[in-house]
């Protein structure tokens, strides 16, 4: 009954608040079906995504599982201070940054190059086959991928056999690739490229389809060769997508992944394979040092949060479309 009156006389501002609330509630009742369809999932969201943040308080405690929340000993930032003096944590931080940078740069370059080359294939059927095959490794689990990578890199694996065949090494000198610490970043980078190069081309190929074909025709008339067309038309055509993705990915600098490092890591390459996520797992689960583990995880999340927000607003200011 009230809705109509309020809509008809919007100039009444004295009781704006109760009216606004009442209008809101009236609408809520009217849209109760939509409420029933969405609010249960909103509650799910708060329980499973927001409630765990409460656990961050543990990072500031000398946590004892047997004690209740109010009986814990509060010790401020000393876990964080410990982390930044801890040689192992600093090494883990270095590995995280190194592997995510490798992933970022290699991932971008290889996918852009592959997209450019795919774009030049004129036989539609062949292009489709290549694309379908190239998506395959993205869909398999890292467990399967790690099994495959281990087999490929083992002493009787294909890589060693090729090296012997090409005469670079003799039989009996096979590399134990995953046992050589400073090979790990390279193996990680190559594995990530193998797994996701095809998948990463999707966005670029989509952007290329939006380029006006008349541009290519005009360039061809002017005598521009294939490479010139690639450099002066195709690449500028996908520039905005590349810039946005690049900025957004910088926001994930501390997210170097977990599964490949965990599954391919071993006692021999641990100095180069262990990243923050594995550090969190080892301290938290294996050693049950919840406070230190949460402090490390919290550090990662907060830095990522800031980076992502900065990245998002930089992308916005650059006049490019944001992710959302």
């Amino acid at each position: 009954m009230n809705t109509k009156t309020i809509l008809a006389t919007p100039e009444i501002k004295t009781d704006q608040k109760p009216a606004g609330l009442r209008l809101f509630l009236t609408k809520l009742v009217k849209q109760r079906v939509l409420v029933f369809m969405s609010v249960p999932f909103l509650i799910w969201l708060f329980i499973f995504k927001y409630l765990p943040l409460w656990g961050w308080t543990i990072a500031f405690q000398d946590y004892r599982p047997a004690l209740g929340f109010w009986d814990q000993k509060w010790i401020g930032f000393s876990h964080f201070k410990f982390l930044f003096g801890d040689e192992r944590f600093l090494r883990v931080l270095r590995n995280t940054l190194a592997m995510s940078s490798i992933n970022l740069i290699l991932g971008f370059l290889t996918a852009i190059v592959l997209a450019l080359l795919l774009n030049e294939i004129r036989q539609v059927a062949f292009k489709r086959i290549v694309q379908t095959v190239s998506y395959l490794p993205h869909f398999i689990s890292w467990v399967v991928a790690a099994s495959i990578i281990q087999t490929t890199l083992s002493p009787d694996g294909i890589i060693n056999q090729l090296l012997i065949w090409a005469g670079f090494i003799d039989k009996g000198q096979e590399f134990l690739f995953l046992g050589i610490p400073h090979f790990f970043w390279g193996i990680f980078g190559a594995s990530s490229v193998w797994k996701d190069i095809g998948w990463n081309t999707i966005v670029y190929l989509a952007a290329m389809t939006t380029i006006d074909p008349s541009q290519y025709e005009a360039a061809e008339m002017d005598g521009a060769g294939r490479f010139k067309r690639m450099f002066y038309i195709t690449l500028p055509g996908i520039k905005s997508v590349v810039v946005v993705l690049l900025i957004m990915n910088i926001g994930y600098l501390l997210e170097s992944g977990f599964e490949p490092q965990y599954l391919l890591g071993n006692g021999m390459n641990v100095d180069y394979s262990e990243n923050i996520d594995i550090f969190v797992l080892k301290y938290g689960i294996a050693q049950s040092n919840f406070s230190l583990s949460i402090a490390a995880g919290m550090f990662k999340t907060i830095v990522s949060f800031i980076l992502l927000f900065v990245a998002n607003s930089v992308a916005k200011r650059a006049g490019e479309s944001r992710l959302f």
């Binding site: 086959i129 989509a206 990522s304």
Partner: protein, 305 residues
């Protein structure tokens, strides 16, 4: 092809095309060879594989490895759990995501902004390993099947691609339900769901792949519950064992040899190869048929350039 009619193909163009063709063939070989190699090992006699030198084809063809793997009660049961979590998880995720996406696509919905922001914010942070673990423990989900389904119920990315899809549907179709006097839920079931099938297929693929491929939640929450183990986790355990022995297949063979090797007995190497194939075949069979849909989904959900 049409360009060739208009302008003569230069020699450089021909060379480029041939190089590009060769490059693409190489790319496909690098992508596929490891799978073919593992398939060959899985189809080869286990004792014979230890000698090495299996590349593209099995040397002593046999199905013993597969027979062994499926006779093993643990692995058989783990496969069932994998299928169960994939089916239940996918259905619940697709329906739930579609429902929420529909409500936040409705411009007139009062909670639209609030729900959208609440979901999108969660892309920027998460509680982390231990807080999540403590939550599952406090909710008595540790040691239960539902710990596979509930935490990953709705992904923000899925929500966004479905919402974009609904928003791009012609207004008149959605309006037609209202004229017929259909309520919001009826509109959702009889109009929105059928029309969003292409994007729901994408979400189903992503969610199914996620469920099928998961092993870390099994390890974290249910590693002591053998009857809730999954195929991927069983494979991961085998993998971890062979990592402990430096990941050399010849060492796998030696371990088996020490355990008393009779002809035809399986080895960790061949079990691993067989399970790797079993764990990847369902996905390999499905994703090519959904390619058209997920490519579109990625375009919508990625960057609107």
């Amino acid at each position: 092809m049409e360009k060739r009619n208009r302008i003569r193909t230069s020699r450089g163009d021909r060379v480029f095309e041939i190089c590009n063709f060769i490059f693409m063939i190489l790319l496909m070989i690098v992508t596929l060879y490891p799978f073919i190699n593992i398939l060959a090992v899985s189809l080869n006699d286990a004792q014979d594989s230890i000698k090495g030198g299996i590349y593209l084809f099995p040397r002593a063809l046999t199905l013993d490895n597969y027979q062994y793997v499926f006779k093993e009660a643990t692995i058989f049961h783990a496969t069932l759990i994998s299928i169960l979590r994939t089916v239940i998880g996918t259905v619940v995720t697709v329906l739930g995501s579609a429902m929420v996406a529909y409500t936040i696509s409705r411009q007139d919905y009062v909670l639209r902004k609030f729900i959208t922001i609440a979901f999108i914010l969660t892309m920027y942070f998460n509680g982390g390993l231990i807080p999540n673990y403590l939550l599952m423990r406090d909710m008595n989900l540790v040691g239960s099947f539902w710990v596979y389904i509930l935490p990953g119920l709705i992904g923000v990315f899925n929500l966004i691609i479905i919402r974009s899809f609904i928003e791009n549907l012609p207004e008149s179709i959605l309006e037609s339900g209202k004229i017929d006097g259909a309520g919001d839920f009826k509109t959702f079931i009889s109009i929105v769901l059928p029309l969003t099938m292409p994007v729901l297929a994408t979400v189903a693929l992503f969610s199914g792949v996620y469920q099928w491929n998961s092993w870390f939640d099994v390890f974290l929450y249910n590693s002591s519950k053998i009857n809730l183990s999954t195929l991927q986790y069983e494979l991961q355990k085998i993998l971890q064992n062979s990592t402990a022995t430096a990941g050399t297949s010849s060492m796998d063979g030696m371990i088996n040899g020490a355990n008393g090797s009779q002809q035809g007995a399986v080895t960790p190497l061949s079990i691993r190869a067989t399970m790797t194939i079993v764990a990847s075949v369902p996905i390999i069979m499905v994703y090519p048929f959904l390619q058209k849909y997920f490519v579109k989904g990625m375009m919508v959900g990625g960057v609107k350039g």
